[in-house]
């Protein structure tokens, strides 16, 4: 009797022990879950931090400070000897920044300024005023001697100061904007003569060593050419290769080799493609360095595996019954593919192509090797002209020392991310809209 009691008590104590264990196990379970949530949260936090950094540093780049000046096209400054009829170079070489400085000086009511003051006045206005005023005068020679209100770009540091990005508590000699200049900015601001305007130059200007004039126009055109070249090469070649491998190729060692090869090419680091492009297209084929044609060819090779893999998946998703039906009514194999399988797979192919293009648009390293890190101030007219690309422009600006370039870099990144977002959203919409379940 006592034995059996002892037995049941040991049995119940064993159950009790297991219950205690359960508590521990549930705690472990909760910890495990928390780790999972934590991991996702950390990932999302990094994403948010990255986007926040870029946007907070970059959104101001879309506005640029301009100053309104009552510019007098003073003949005494431009052409004191009155020889411009004989020598048109006088109008090209004239001291236009002087006109702007004079206008600013009179607007601020400064009489007889000293040399350091004049230097600070010069430092208010972007050197781009030279080209701006020259173009005005050349297109309309009757302006000579007249006065006109012109909005001119402020110098980069003044721009930063006006946007409130410069810490004024720092000692004057340690910052790029002097107290006098701050005073002038306030003065102009109270008269409504200084304002932030939408920064069209960011999108249309070429490269410049002065931050306020630097733009990514040449880079956007270069990237556009490259995307075009990638599209017209990689799409047909990729689709043709996938159609062959999926629909026609016999299963043998050769096609197996091609398959393994394509999967490996997708994982080759992009910089290796840059080396290939350098050796093949520039050293052997003697194509011009820095040309968007070479960049496009290299990016085509990088994008091909992506497009082939996506296209093959799209072709595989078309059910065999479609193929059998087409063959059954007497179509040839080629007709079956081109009339039925390809049209049905088209949305998937397009989605893959867009994603491949987006990947190519963000690619930087291979372009550095084929010389696209060039200072391109003029627009490339053909794909053979020196050009640069959007991500490469970002890389070059990121390496600039001046702080105003940080803003430009972030602005350019925002533009690049916008392009990528548009492409990816287009791919998602395409997939959602035309996705078909068999």
């Amino acid at each position: 009797m006592s034995n059996s009691v002892a037995d049941t008590s040991t049995a119940s104590s064993v159950t009790k022990k297991r219950d205690l264990n359960l508590k521990k196990r549930y705690a472990a379970e909760r910890r495990f879950r928390a780790m999972g949530i934590g991991a996702i949260a950390i990932g999302l936090f990094f994403l948010a931090a990255l986007l926040f950094t870029v946007v907070s540093k970059g959104y101001t780049a879309f506005w640029q400070t301009s100053i309104a000046l009552e510019i007098t096209f003073d003949e005494g400054v431009i052409d004191s000897a009155k020889k411009r009829v004989e020598d048109p170079n006088i109008l090209l070489m004239a001291n236009y920044p002087r006109l702007a400085r004079n206008a600013l000086q009179s607007q601020l009511g400064l009489e007889k300024p000293t040399k350091p003051i004049l230097k600070q006045l010069d430092g208010m206005i972007s050197n781009g005023v030279r080209v701006q005023l020259r173009e005005m005068l050349l297109s309309d020679p009757t302006l000579m001697g007249k006065t006109q209100k012109v909005w001119v770009l402020a110098e980069a540091n003044i721009d930063s100061a006006f946007k409130g990005q410069i810490d004024l508590s720092v000692a004057e000699k340690n910052r790029k904007v002097s107290d006098a200049q701050i005073g002038w900015i306030d003065d102009l601001n109270s008269k409504g003569l200084i304002a932030q305007k939408f920064n069209t130059g960011l999108f249309f200007n070429g490269a410049s060593s002065r931050p306020e004039m630097a733009g990514m126009g040449a880079a956007i055109i270069g990237s556009f050419y490259m995307m075009l070249i990638v599209l017209i090469q990689a799409l047909p070649i990729g689709v043709a290769a996938s159609v062959y491998l999926e629909e026609f190729a016999p299963k043998n060692r050769w096609t197996d080799l091609i398959e393994v090869n394509i999967n490996n090419l997708a994982a080759v680091p992009s910089i290796v493609y840059g080396l290939l492009g350098l050796a093949l297209f520039i050293n052997i084929a003697h194509l011009p360095r820095s040309a968007s044609l070479v960049g496009g060819l290299v990016l085509t090779l990088i994008t091909l595996p992506t497009i082939i893999i996506a296209t093959r998946a799209a072709l595989r998703a078309v059910p065999p019954s479609i193929r059998s039906a087409a063959l059954g009514v007497g179509a040839s194999k080629m007709q079956m593919v081109s009339h039925h399988v390809l049209p049905l797979a088209a949305p998937g192919i397009l989605t893959g192509t867009i994603i491949g293009l987006a990947q190519a648009l963000g690619e930087t390293a291979p372009l550095l090797l084929i010389g696209m890190v060039a200072f391109v101030a003029d627009f490339p007219l053909t794909p053979l002209d020196p050009a640069t690309a959007l991500p490469v422009q970002i890389f070059m600006w990121a390496n600039e020392a001046e702080r105003a370039f940080v803003e430009r870099t972030s602005g350019a990144i925002i533009v690049l991310l916008m392009f990528l977002a548009v492409m990816n959203i287009a791919a998602i919409i395409l997939r959602k809209r035309f996705e078909r379940r068999w």
């Binding site: 196990r25 910890r31 495990f32 879950r33 780790m35 999972g36 949530i37 934590g38 991991a39 996702i40 950390i42 990932g43 999302l44 990094f46 994403l47 931090a49 990255l50 950094t53 047909p236 070649i237 990729g238 043709a240 290769a241 062959y244 491998l245 026609f248 190729a249 091609i258 090869n261 394509i262 999967n263 490996n264 090419l265 994982a267 080759v268 680091p269 992009s270 910089i271 290796v272 080396l275 290939l276 050796a279 003697h286 091909l304 040839s332 080629m334 987006a358 963000g362 930087t364 390293a365 550095l368 090797l369 991500p391 970002i394 890389f395 990121a398 940080v406 990144i413 991310l417 990528l420």
Partner: protein
Amino acid sequence: MSLLSIFLIVLCIAIAGHFAGRSKALSSANGKASGLHSLPAYYGTYVLSWALFPPMALMALWLVISPSVISNAITSTFPVEVQSLDPAKTSLIYGTVESIADGLRQLNPDQITEVSKDISLLKPLLAENGIALASDGEAYMVTSALTMISTQNTSRLLLSIFVIGISLLCAFYAYRKIEPRFRARNRVERFMLAGLIAASTIAILTTLGIFASMVTETGRFFSSVPPTEFFFGITWDPRFASAGDTGSAGQFGLIPLLAGTLYIALVAMLVAVPIGLYAAIYMAEYASPTLRSIAKPLLEVLAGIPTIVYGFFALVTVGPFLRDISAQIAGIATGDVANFIQAQSVLTAGLVMGIMLIPFVSSLSDDIITQVPGAMRDGSLGIGATRSETVRRVILPAALPGIVGALLLTASRAIGETMIVVLAAGIAARISINPFEPMTTVTVKIVSQLTGDLEFTSPQTLVAFALGMTLFFLTLGLNVYALYIVRKYREQYE
């Protein structure tokens, strides 16, 4: 005749051939398409294919071969003492002759005779036309340049005659063959199939191209620097040689670069693997469909962001942040406010690269975990295991080969990553175990050796190809090994 106009002429012949072939086919069947073997358009396409593809193939072949033929012919016109110089100098002279030829094309005949009489006129005359010469040039260069111009003109003339002639001949041949019983569709489809096969071999050609270019350039590098010095050297100090100086000065030791590459990749994996794996497990096993449908695409956005953006993020945010926080920690611990983490460091680069790799780990592992058969999961839950025990004891072991494969692929991406390390890791090539100091990688050095105007004869440039080949084989090895692991162990659980 420019290449474009040759192409347009051939295209016109082909299109004309298309319509001619189509109408001949129709008229041969008395205007009834039902009397033909194939649809009428196939007869047209047959003629078009013949008129277009053989001449285009010839043109491509010509363009590939003719430059080397011409350059050989031109080099043989150089004086004997120039030809006996070493290849680097000869190619420099050849480049000069090329630009002289470019310049001479823009001069009128009178100026050319003047120049060939008096060589000192050459430089200023060309400068007027916007072509800057590095040297004054010598008399034989002008002769060679003139030969080059005439050879190139002849080559182009022959090319246009051949290509257009062959196009016409082929079109005529195809046109002649058209009759009602001619199996045009089958012939056209054979052309198309040939095109498909050609497209699919491009992948092979790319690999061969990578391999061949790496091997030849690396071979040239090893002819001036012994392989043992490259693979086992522990000093990286490639002093840049001045133009024309091909003497190998400097040391090209791979070890410090490889150490930096692997160290940074290791730090990146230490960041990415736990976060990515836990995120994947949570999304596959715990998350509600709504959470999954939001969190998964958001994490994958990280994979779509270009690496240059991560590089910028490391440069302006993460690097300075780590530097400042280390200064504060040092201030609290020792009272001396000195940063022990540098802005450019292994830690900065590794951390940011790890962030970039999170989505690779998580989405690859997620796919693999969801592929584990549901019966195994249910069995484990059914005998009373908690979810986390099921994951740890059943699902992870079952998914292990796939996950290891995914991690190897991720590691190969970390090793080949360029832009983040270019901006965040620094350029100091040294071996150190301190993650707070800058180190450099193979990819950084490839970029820095090849940026700027360089000659392709000095070991300073060629070393980039040796580095590239190391990188190629390293990543290839990892990929192949990953594939092998996945293939070998996958069957067990299916």
